[in-house]
Symmetry: C3
Subunit: 312 residues, 3 copies
């Protein structure tokens, strides 16, 4: 008999999931994508309620979860901006807030600016808790949808060379994704200005997990060699010198001309994009970032169904 290994669990960091569990979720997401294309909506989570508790507003992530829940037939209790709620203003703890919401809902998706806040909620309640971002910590469902996208675009997760470009020091998206890709012993090309390099401890950890890691500040090299180009934003507030910021931002901007020789190079971005990818790239067949956003719904449907133990 099949036993769902994810039933009633939390998802706080991507390392909570084994390689097999990730594959299980991607397969399940793919089944949902194929089924919903025909049926529009399923009845799997009828009678279940998802609470989205966002202490930082994030339209994108919140709506993606809510869309996933509704397509599975479930219902949504939505807190778009928990900071303004009287209880938070009065000094209620994360644990207490989660305990109360857990009396209304069957599963909790939380975003909060403090590292560790998702674990704090998960420790307080019996219902499954999904971390939708805890500051500089983790954002594991972003990694899931990124993996789903690579798998769908490339047809495989092993033997892939992924170049990650931008701020690799602060970007939690890149941290979670690189940890997951290391399970497949992929080749990671880390492209960043020296001041925004990935933390050396994380690089070492990726190597231990089996990834082949190349660090460089040469974007052209990455474009030549990679199967997937994963672009992230470089934020102005990371720089004390505004001219340094402008110079660097310019040197890491992707445009159509740069990509001309590589029509098979899949371009991804966690969005929102500002100007690190020029809009002339959008219409290229290998520009995958809006498909990537769409994939968030399939990946999250899989996760919700698995944690609530209602598999099709």
């Amino acid at each position: 008999m099949f036993v769902n290994p994810l039933a009633r669990r939390d998802l706080i960091g991507i390392d909570d999931l084994s390689k097999d569990e990730i594959v299980f979720l991607l397969d399940l997401g793919n089944r949902f994508e194929e089924t919903i294309g025909r049926t529009r909506v399923m009845d799997l989570l009828h009678g279940f309620q998802l609470a989205t508790l966002f202490y930082e507003p994030s339209t994108r992530t919140r709506l993606s979860f809510e869309s996933a829940m509704q397509r599975l037939g479930g219902q949504v209790l939505s807190v778009a901006d928990a900071r303004t709620a009287s209880s938070a203003a009065k000094g209620e703890s994360i644990a207490d807030a989660a305990r109360v919401v857990a009396t209304y809902a069957d599963i909790l998706v939380q975003r909060h600016p403090a590292i560790g806040s998702a674990q704090e909620a998960a420790d307080a309640v019996e219902i499954p808790v999904i971390n939708a971002g805890d500051g500089a910590g983790e954002h594991p469902t972003q990694a899931l949808l990124d993996l789903y996208t690579i798998w769908k675009e490339k047809g495989r997760l092993d033997h892939v060379t992924i170049a990650m470009v931008g701020d690799l020091k602060h970007g939690r998206t890149v941290h979670s994704l690189s940890k997951a890709l290391a399970c497949w012993k992929d080749h990671l090309i880390l492209v960043s200005p020296p001041a925004l390099k990935m933390d050396s401890h994380l690089v070492a950890y990726l190597g231990q997990k089996g990834a082949q890691v190349t660090e460089t500040d040469d974007l052209q090299l990455a474009i030549n060699e990679a199967d997937v180009l994963y672009v992230t934003r470089i934020q102005r507030e990371r720089f004390s010198d505004p001219e340094e910021y402008l110079r660097l931002r310019g040197s890491y901007t992707i445009n159509r001309a740069l990509l001309a020789a590589r029509p098979d190079l899949t371009v991804m971005h966690p969005l929102p994009r500002v100007d690190e990818i020029a809009t002339d790239v959008d219409s290229l067949p290998n520009a995958a970032y809006f498909r990537q956003a769409n994939n968030g719904v399939w990946a999250r449907m899989a996760l919700l169904a698995a944690l609530l133990d209602r598999l099709p």
Copy 2:
């Protein structure tokens, strides 16, 4: 075979709709009003998701669309205040935000303070986009529900004399409605202080479309002659001289005494009302403004079903 002329289209401005298409929508709204009175809810849009993306909060318009969607059996993804979302704060374009939301939903209703913002979203996505207000631009579903109200209250849309009162220079509601009424070659009496007169280009355009236009600052004349009195707010911030504002506001305030001789004069207002209609008018049988708000649900049900091509 009947072909739905509105299938998969956008609605950005009221001029997007021909006279026949407007009649089609009003008839459809009326069918919904009659059906829902018996059944409470329909199954027509089961499995469809509406996203309301409001960069300016507007309880009234947002809830009216959401109520319409739910009564048709559809589901709602709601962004009550997109300005606070991190993606907007980070500088994401209207087009990108719409593209992402379009991966979650089947139809998008957007309000944004910038003229042209709705077209910008519509150009970026394949799902239907409805403009729920783009600053001083258009608000076409308000015009639709106004037409629905005139039709229901008067039994016809042609051979009607409509007096529009208040700020005809800035009010987008009045602009959209007058353009639509011109299709029926109605008589429009435009009542405003000289400083708030309707733009002469628009007046000329209305005349070209076949409307008979009378401009005046005499409210009593309008009350004597009109079939419908459409009242709008005069906003303090339009005046440099506060005394001028107070004097004018007073002279365009509708009360029960003013209406005593005209029990057949339908009084409309797009709401919210401040004090341009005294509350002693509310209980008059010909005070139609709360019925008008209700009609928003029927008109929007018709629009959602038509654009999503799920006709009863």
Copy 3:
């Protein structure tokens, strides 16, 4: 034939309900609790729409109502922060806003900081209105869920000694609950610092209704004698002298040691809790405050079904 005494009524203050009507609602809530445990969701309010109109954000109360509505098969139109809506900013009255929302929904739950605001809404519309807090006024559904909790924890509502602790002068929760308990002629021990005593008119009213009232500032006495300890917050802003505040807050803090001799003493709190109950109390079997939050859903399901006249 059974006639539902609550059909189409409003609930503004707890005194709107007779003792029999309260018992009716608690029984109905209990039936829902037992049924939903098996079925997850009911079809009773299919096709009905609840509007939550919150001029003050309150995640807890809003989500409790929305969860209740969804579990009964109904739909929700949610306004988490009506203050930011353009109509409120433009000066729309409470009555007008309620009239408009009443054209979208079948029942209205309103929170507003002004005393009397719920009655103002109820006077304006024909659909049932539930007061979810009107400033220092009433919050009757909190009293309902408190009664439900006492009944479930103690097995009875009469012959109960309830100690209420904290700010009894300003706390609307305590006011509403004590009025309701007086119907059962219970013994109320009122424990507060002298400056935060319950208003003497209310104490006299409770006595007239049949309650036995003891006023004290001795927490230990209350712990020794009570069946239920109802703890509320003491707010810093009530004190001009910060040291006085800190001294008092400390003397009314409940911890595990204080409760050691009374394992049968049910501890309640309307939440959010800050530090007036130490977290070491949370795991005691008699710590009922999170069960109390959960009971809000059952009590509100009963109320929604009763006011909408759709009894199982």
